[in-house]
């Protein structure tokens, strides 16, 4: 067996593939043969589909000679093949189908992936061809209220000493780096009113979402308004409410795959300001890593190169506190300490980092708090940062109606521990049958649980237990708020969880995917009161098209 013919390791996978693809290794090892066969298979598949495509075109309309795809590179071959329906040469074929009066249909959701592939390829070419300075126009199309106050975005000051090298992509919205700069946050005028904030967009399952919007739903008046619409070429991927609930941190990425933008928007839709823009090709934001410190003075996020970076809003200082790999999910424990998770192939480890120790720390400088199971586990924290919560269940079980997805099964356990000492664990919830697929702490004393029991699984809890529950942090007071008819599938690897919960201590918001006996799946966002009573559906989408992507939370305007 070849020395390289070991298990593929995530950390060195690309080098392994390269080594195993070289002639001696490819011939001598099982892995080498596998890689060679994979490449052969896809190459042959491409050749077959291209030939059949051409034949179909010729049979459909003999007058039309379909030209072969651009074969200048493997990327072009593949992307060209998959975008056939956009190819003008193929139009006669589609329109000449006997007896068909069907107009050209909208693109399939899958074509979004193809489009993104093309855009990415074009972007790479563009970035090599054009090194131009363009002004980032995040505010241009930023706020388009459907009702509610008109907004007047402010143009951010662009200070000297911009950090990254600007790059740009031809055509759409371009990126110009904006260094961090001091900002002042003011409360919105007038009486406060609780409001739910959420992000909607198209796609987002296998591609970056597009046409993303930040929406506010006033829980008092029921009025809905769009606070922010992403400019073309950008995708709003997350928003986080400030501790005082008056500001939103918006995280966007350029949909051509280059650059990130951090912005602040007041919850009344006013005072949009760009905090920081990084146009470097590798810039992106790790999942759920953008967080306000408890006093709202600092913002932490993990960039794509796995640096934990912190912006100090009052000074505009932008500093790297930790450099490592596979960092994700940040929670502030207090104003100078935060937990950060490192996801490895077999387990995730939670670390405690002290920013008082200075910038440029390594993971060995942080304190390892605990290991987190990779299945079912989800970390969360109380609003004051004092307690960490960890959820677990019995793993994934296959479900026939989930395609490639699985369901989760009980026993479900949710534990709580002091943030600085996770060895002192308290069990808040434990149920041998019911499966908790999502949970969310409410303030410092309560928690919402969403139960979704898989059918046809031995010892699974009953369907009547499906729905939203509330429980006190000491394990008492468990009661059911809603009943559920949700989809029994769980796609753990998706970028946006199917089930999301938010609460402000008075109200709750629940995003769920509804399973019906017939017809399409649909996604609904409902709001209700923790005190009980019926809930109100405020958004409902056919699942897989336009969707609610992120339930940001309940704040005040």
């Amino acid at each position: 067996m070849s020395k390289h013919d070991d298990q593929f390791q995530p950390e060195t996978i690309y080098q392994q593939i390269e080594q195993l693809s070289s002639p001696p290794e490819a011939a001598a090892s099982t892995s080498g043969a596998l890689l060679r066969d994979l490449r052969d298979l896809y190459k042959q598949e491409e050749e077959i589909t291209e030939r059949v495509r051409t034949k179909l075109g010729q049979i459909s309309d003999p007058q039309v000679t379909l030209s072969p795809r651009n074969t200048t590179s493997s990327k072009n071959i593949q992307t060209g093949r998959k975008t056939m329906h956009n190819d003008e040469h193929f139009q006669p074929l589609m329109s000449s189908r006997p007896g068909s009066n069907t107009p050209q249909r909208p693109k399939f959701p899958r074509s979004l992936l193809v489009a993104a592939t093309i855009l990415l390829a074009l972007g790479l070419v563009g970035s090599m061809s054009f090194v131009l300075m363009h002004t980032h126009l995040p505010n241009q199309a930023a706020v388009t209220p459907t009702s509610g106050p008109m907004t007047k975005p402010e143009t951010p000051a662009i200070p000297t000493g911009v950090k990254p090298t600007p790059t740009t992509t031809a055509g759409q919205n371009a990126c110009t780096s904006v260094a961090a700069h001091p900002v002042t946050l003011t409360s919105p005028p007038g009486a406060n009113s609780p409001a739910l904030y959420y992000i909607v967009g198209k796609g987002g399952q296998q591609t970056l979402p597009s046409q993303t919007q930040l929406v506010r739903y006033d829980l008092t008046t029921g009025q809905k308004s769009t606070l922010y619409t992403s400019p073309e070429g950008e995708s709003l991927i997350n928003a986080v409410l400030s501790p005082d609930k008056h500001w939103l941190l918006l995280s966007s990425i350029f949909s051509r795959g280059q650059g990130i933008v951090l912005q602040l928007l007041r919850t009344d839709g006013q005072q949009l300001q760009t905090l920081y823009t990084d146009c470097s090709a590798s810039a992106t934001i790790s999942e759920q890593s953008d967080r306000w410190s408890l006093d709202g003075s600092r913002i932490a996020f993990v960039s794509s190169d796995a640096d934990l970076q912190i912006l100090t809003l009052t000074t505009g200082q932008f500093q790297t506190y930790l450099s490592s790999t596979n960092l994700t999910e940040v929670y502030w424990v207090n104003n100078h300490q935060l937990t950060i998770q490192q996801n490895n192939s077999n387990d995730n480890v939670l670390y405690l980092l002290d920013t008082n120790k200075g910038t440029g720390q390594k993971l060995s400088d942080a304190t390892a708090l605990m290991h987190i199971s990779t299945t079912c586990a989800r970390l969360s924290i109380s609003s004051d940062g004092s307690r960490l919560f960890n959820g677990s269940c019995n793993g994934r079980v296959p479900q026939n109606n989930c395609q490639s997805g699985d369901a989760l099964s009980g026993q479900s356990v949710i534990t709580s521990a002091p943030s600085g000492n996770t060895s002192h664990t308290t069990t808040i919830y434990s149920n041998t049958q019911d499966t908790v697929v999502a949970y969310a702490p409410i303030g410092t004393s309560q928690m919402l649980l969403y139960v979704m029991n898989p059918p046809a699984v031995t010892n699974a809890g009953p369907a009547s237990h499906d729905g939203l529950w509330i429980i006190n942090d000491d394990g008492t007071g468990l009661r059911q708020l809603t009943t559920g008819t949700g989809l029994k599938c769980w796609f753990q690897d998706g970028p946006y969880p199917d089930y999301q919960i938010a609460s402000d201590g008075q109200h709750y918001a629940l995003l769920q995917v509804n399973a019906t006996s017939s017809g399409p799946l649909n996604q609904s966002l409902v709001v209700g009161k923790l005190s009980g009573g019926s809930n109100t559906m405020i958004a409902n989408y056919e699942y897989g098209r336009e969707n609610v992507l992120v339930v940001v939370g309940i704040g005040e305007k």
Partner: protein, 186 residues
């Protein structure tokens, strides 16, 4: 949030779109059953020609369309088996070996290669959907991990992990096949 079954009201009956949307799945299905590339290509063409003349596809959602296409493909495969049985066959031992100076072009090597390809198709189809996607983007589209991460909106580390898991699973399947073949030869 991955896409579960989505019986959309969308009605993609135009052949070009139909082809783009389902060609990989249909070809994968055919390749499970037919090892010979030329035969697989013929069947693929016949399936979509049948679809072109099939107004019944109007109004079907994507899942129903794919089910119909697979059913047609299955019938075409059966047809091919029947035809193949009537074809005159030449025994491999009667072939003049020195006609194939390149060993890879010999009939035996071709048959083995086709069988391995069909086996690989089967193992690929058994991978979780997201692993299939990452493997395809990496090997078919020749995209680096970072770009795949951007496309799928996942961390690059997740892509590396997914790719490693998929390849390890395929590799284990390969080793299993080798062990089984070894046992058969003994």
């Amino acid at each position: 949030m991955k896409q579960p079954a989505n019986p959309s009201a969308e009605d993609p009956t135009a052949l070009g779109e139909l082809y783009e949307h389902h060609v990989q799945a249909v070809l994968g299905y055919i390749s499970h059953h037919i090892a010979n590339l030329a035969d697989a290509e013929d069947v693929l063409l016949e399936v979509f020609l049948a679809a072109q003349n099939r107004d019944a596809l109007v109004g079907l959602n994507h899942g129903e369309q794919l089910a119909w296409l697979k059913r047609v493909a299955a019938n075409k495969c059966v047809d091919l088996y029947r035809v193949a049985r009537r074809r005159p066959e030449v025994a491999l031992q009667n072939m003049v070996e020195d006609l194939y100076q390149d060993e890879l072009q010999s009939p035996e090597a071709q048959v083995l290669h086709q069988e391995r390809r069909a086996t690989l198709y089967r193992h690929l189809a058994e991978l979780p959907e997201h692993q299939q996607m990452v493997v395809r983007l990496y090997f078919a589209h020749d995209l680096p991990g970072r770009e795949i991460a951007l496309l799928l909106q996942k961390k690059e580390s997740t892509i590396r992990m997914t790719l490693a898991r998929a390849l390890n699973r395929l590799r284990a399947a390969y080793e299993h096949e080798q062990t089984r073949e070894g046992a058969c030869h003994e």
